[in-house]
């Protein structure tokens, strides 16, 4: 009985958080001089209005799914892998590099794509290990290390686009020369949606779920995350596990970046990561690191993103409104969680 009561109580608090977030956002919309209800309607329409909209939402869902899944591994080990953004970017860079290297070779295109995706994963993984090495051997907190590496990764993209990989003639913000269609991941007819990418995203999430819930490896990561000192004395090689968790997260982030190239943009563009790394951090925090909730919440977040594209056209509102909603939602949930703890102090 008591258990049930607690569950309802929790649900009540969570609903409260959503209401609070909506309230905050509505205030922002009102301040911008638009009717809130209309804005929400446009958001929904933008995300799900047409078949094309739905497909675009799913396209955006995949990288967020991958980034968040990867982050669950580093969070389990007690690490704040802010560098996930840079790891996505390095995934894109490595994939672009492999494609550029092999696009004129006689190898079958499918094989080239597979190599390019594996290359991208490796790139993300290595970039993550770099943040891990900085932490374990250099004493650099992973938050600062990751932040620094993110800046380097972004600069590297710009340098590649305007330098060594520039389009014939003059470099442009629109990115590198697009790859021939044979090197695109096949998409559903008439849509930008690749069924392969979606499958990879879902497989990744399932793998992470079982890794963290059911394996010795996952439990050891959790031990390292909760108390590295005791974990070490219980015989777990602590720093090796930390590096490994960075590498795993980097693999998933790299896969996200890689798919952005082979399935979505077919070239390297300056903002290739589209902020999915940071968004992934928010999703992970919002769901309190529970793998079970990654898929729905990530979907909700990208729906907001895609839906907001509609706003400037329909209501002359900036599309950054989706960011406001996401941000206030995370803050509202964290605040309400804090209040709940205070009220039910144990």
């Amino acid at each position: 009985m008591q258990h049930n009561e607690k569950r309802w109580q929790n649900l009540g608090f969570q609903l409260g958080a959503v209401v609070l977030a909506l309230l905050l956002t509505s205030l922002v919309i009102l301040a911008a001089g638009a009717p809130p209800l209309d804005a929400y309607k446009q958001l929904l329409k933008g995300a799900f209005g047409t078949k094309m909209n739905v497909a675009d939402t799913v396209v955006a869902w995949v990288p967020l799914l991958l980034a968040t899944s990867g982050l669950l591994v580093t969070f389990a080990a007690g690490l704040w892998n802010i560098g996930v953004e840079g790891q996505i970017i390095l995934g894109s860079i490595f994939t672009t590099g492999v494609l550029k290297l092999l696009q004129d070779s006689p190898l079958p295109p499918a094989f080239i794509i597979v190599l390019a995706v594996l290359g991208g994963m490796l790139g993300g993984g290595l970039w993550a290990v770099l943040a891990g090495v900085l932490k374990t051997f250099g004493g650099v907190n992973e938050i600062f290390g990751g932040l620094g590496l993110n800046f380097i990764a972004t600069s590297m993209t710009i340098w590649l686009i305007f330098g060594p990989w520039k389009r014939p003639g003059v470099g442009s913000m629109s990115g590198t020369e697009p790859f021939p269609e044979s090197l695109w991941l096949p998409t559903l007819p008439g849509l930008r949606l690749s069924i392969w990418a979606v499958m990879l995203g879902i497989i990744a999430l399932v793998v992470i779920y079982f890794l963290l819930q059911g394996t010795y490896f996952g439990l050891k990561l959790k031990a390292v995350g909760n108390n590295p000192r005791a974990a070490f004395l219980l015989g777990i090689p602590t720093w090796q596990y930390m590096l490994l968790s960075f590498f795993l997260c980097g693999l998933f982030a790299g896969l996200a970046g890689s798919l952005q190239v082979v399935a979505v943009y077919h070239r390297l563009i300056p903002s290739i990561s589209s902020g999915y790394g940071y968004l992934g951090l928010m999703v992970a925090m919002l769901i309190n690191y529970q793998a079970f909730w990654v898929a729905p919440v990530a979907f909700f977040f990208v729906a907001l993103n895609i839906g907001s594209i509609q706003l400037p056209i329909a209501l002359k509102l900036d599309s950054s409104l989706s960011g406001v909603i996401q941000g206030s939602l995370v803050l509202a949930v964290l605040v309400v969680e804090g209040i709940r703890h205070r009220l039910l102090r144990k």
């Binding site: 059911g214 010795y216 031990a223």
Partner: protein
């Protein structure tokens, strides 16, 4: 002030810490709260002083319902608590600590505070210097500082949680005099302890808690056997000395080991430890015994000499290599170094147990944990998180986690904060290990414990390491002198490790 507890209940996770506690404390008395570890004493006191809220129940002060929701409320009602570990701010001066928590203006009146400090101090005959830094003070002096601070805040109910842990006999006597005076001045003193002799010497009345429930009350003259029965539910006597099960086979050999620390140097330690042997390391805290013990586990780097385990030279190797050779180390700080908060008992057993394949077999693990829990009589369930267990049960869990095949067990304060029953139990388990061939090295501040359970004793004094003494041929007085640095020349005259090898 008269305090009345009415039907207090408190649950942590699956552990019921207080069950329907109901009694009252008259004003101007010293009330003892007696109970073994995990009996719910600290919980009840934390409720009274506002650190935690009860699930249900009320507290009445002088017959009126009190709403105590945080420590500041408690202070306002005149209730103050001295914690087991004094909650002060070490790098600050005594006077600053004294002033913290005093409501008032933005700019505190230092001079006035100092005058009040000195006045109260002299009134009680304390010796604390307002300008000394807290980290240079003894536990006893910190207690004095806390008492002064609470007095200045206008506190009339003083709660002391295990105040006689870590202070000398002299300081204890002084503390008791102070508490007596506080009570004579009309204050109420609540004295929480698991030490029978302290409670009997000091308290006007006693309540006993057992497993979260009120087991009984008593006023002098105290019937010790009856009190013990209330505490444990049965009468317990200290065991006979357990026989030594040492064999001739060597487990550990230290050859000319040297260790450097920023505070002290240890030089030329030579030691041979045989299978089945128990060696107690005695000394004031920070005399070098912690360093040597950790060096035997590969946790502290040696700067000279060799550490040989089971015939294998492990000098300079990391602690995981030591573990592979059958060495295990149990730290004193259970929740900081020993166990992993956030993980359940079951998950701890999975981590330390045999791991076959990739996936965890939860059902098998759970029945294994269930067996261990009943074998070691841990009060908890496989799903209980370790931080929800009491100190004694955390210690039992740590012990239960030890692998089957061990040749050397290194223990820091194995029974710190545990009651007699738990202590006896834990040592009986450890001696079982010895009978199976493991050797034990342990540190304890309790000389009685060292004499009771060791076969040989090594004494430490600011980096000096004595040759092993036969535990049956020495006594508390001698050990007490040695750990204070007295009598080394007479006792170890002809030995190789004497004054000449000492550091500095």
């Amino acid at each position: 002030m008269e305090i009345e507890f009415r039907n207090i209940n408190k649950t942590f996770g699956t552990v019921r810490a207080n069950i329907g506690i109901h009694f009252s404390i008259p004003a101007g008395t010293i009330q003892g709260i007696l109970g073994e570890n995990g009996a719910g004493k600290s919980t009840l006191m934390k409720i009274l002083s506002g650190y935690i809220l009860p699930d249900s129940g009320e507290i009445y002060l002088d017959g009126e319902l009190a709403k105590i929701e945080n420590p500041a409320d408690a202070i306002r009602y005149g209730i103050g608590m001295l914690h087991q570990d004094p909650l002060d701010f070490p790098p600050m001066k005594a006077l600053d600590n004294f002033m913290i928590g005093k409501p008032g203006s933005l700019f505190p009146a230092r001079r006035e505070a100092e005058r009040a400090f000195l006045e109260l101090r002299d009134q009680f005959g304390f010796t604390v210097d307002p300008n000394s830094y807290v980290d240079s003070m003894t536990v006893g002096e910190r207690q004095q500082l806390e008492i002064l601070r609470l007095l200045w805040l206008g506190v009339r109910v003083f709660i002391l949680d295990e105040p006689t842990t870590g202070i000398s006999a002299q300081q204890k006597e002084k503390l008791f005099l102070t508490l007596r005076r506080l009570a004579d001045n009309g204050n109420t003193v609540v004295f929480v302890s698991h030490k029978l002799e302290d409670v009997e010497a000091l308290c006007d009345r006693v309540v006993v808690l057992r497993r979260g429930e009120l087991a009984g009350q008593m006023t002098p003259p105290y019937d010790t056997d009856r009190l013990i029965e209330m505490m444990f539910g049965k009468v317990i006597k200290l065991d006979e000395r357990l026989p030594c099960s040492a064999t001739d086979q060597l487990v550990l050999r230290l050859q000319n080991v040297a260790i450097d620390d920023y505070r002290l140097q240890i030089r030329n330690v030579n030691l041979e430890v045989r299978c089945g042997e128990v060696i107690g390391l005695a000394g004031m805290e920070g005399s070098g015994q912690e360093l040597l013990l950790r060096a035997c586990a590969g946790l502290v780097r040696t700067v000279g000499g060799r550490v040989i385990v089971n015939g294998k030279d492990l000098t300079g190797k990391d602690t995981h290599s030591f573990m592979r050779h059958g060495v295990t180390f149990m730290p004193a700080s259970r929740l900081e170094e020993g166990l992993i908060p956030g993980l359940s008992i079951n998950e701890h057993f999975i981590l330390t147990g045999e791991q076959k394949g990739v996936f965890i077999k939860r059902d098998k693990a759970k029945s294994y944990s269930q067996n261990k829990i009943s074998e070691y009589s841990i009060r908890g369930f496989p799903e209980s998180r370790v931080e929800a267990l009491s100190g004694g049960n955390q210690q039992r869990t740590l012990l239960a986690l030890l692998k089957e095949e061990l040749s050397l067990i290194l223990l820091e304060h194995p029974t710190r904060g545990l009651d007699i029953e738990s202590t006896i139990y834990i040592w009986s388990k450890l001696k079982e290990r010895c009978a199976k061939g493991a050797a034990i090295l342990f540190i304890s501040p309790d000389l009685e414990e060292i004499l009771q359970y060791s076969d040989r004793v090594i004494v430490f004094f600011s980096g000096r390491v004595s040759p092993p003494l036969d535990a049956t041929l020495t006594n508390v007085d001698q050990l007490g002198q040695l750990i204070g640095g007295k009598g080394w020349e007479e006792i170890f005259e002809k030995e190789q490790v004497g004054v000449s090898n000492a550091a500095q």
